[in-house]
Amino acid sequence: AQSVTQPDARVTVSEGASLQLRCKYSYSGTPYLFWYVQYPRQGLQLLLKYYSGDPVVQGVNGFEAEFSKSNSSFHLRKASVHWSDSAVYFCVLSYGSSGNKLIFGIGTLLSVKP
């Protein structure tokens, strides 16, 4: 069965520090993977997506993620975080014949200390 695991429910970093949010997936087929961010009282916004090709994908606001088939991972990174990056980050797996089914990780709450 398909699944997405985000092992860290909460991550706290200082402003300016680097960041890695972890994501592991389980899927026997070719995965489409996403990272979405949810700011307080707002809907989910797409940060970046991976369909195929270069395993490192760039997203908005300096975020990037690296896909690893061997590790079944899709970790999110940022070189230097800003206080405005504080939000909940969701790793998402898309599957199905049309790629229309999404499975969400539980989310990681990122708190950036000023």
Partner: protein, 113 residues
């Protein structure tokens, strides 16, 4: 482009009352999805329309929940005889490919007293 619009943003109902949630997808998008978000269960898929036709409702509770898409500009999620366990944020998303990249609305927070 106003994005996906959901109304109301907040709804409070009494136990046993009906709740109707509205979603207006992004103009031109052919697919509409409904999700439910709770602290305990996280984000769960409910149902999916493509070109107004119901495609997959495998996530919908078998009783009391129904969804429709009467035209390409809006979809509704109706919950009859609401129960406290229905309290959640209900998210609507739309896609122009019917597939992976979905654009989400701000959600409707339903509170059942």
């Amino acid at each position: 482009n106003a994005g996906v619009i959901q109304t109301p943003r907040h709804k409070v109902t009494g136990k046993g009352q009906e709740a109707t949630l509205w979603c207006e997808p992004i103009s031109g998008h052919s697919a509409v999805f409904w999700y439910r978000q709770t602290i305990v269960q996280g984000l769960e898929f409910l149902t999916y329309f493509r070109n107004q036709a119901p495609i997959d409702d495998s996530g919908m509770p078998k009783e009391r929940f129904s969804a429709q898409m009467p035209n390409q500009s809006h979809s509704t999620l109706k919950i009859q005889s609401t129960q406290p366990q229905d309290s959640a944020v209900y998210l609507c998303a739309s896609s122009d490919t019917g597939g992976a990249e979905q654009f989400f609305g701000p959600g409707t927070r339903l509170t059942v007293l």
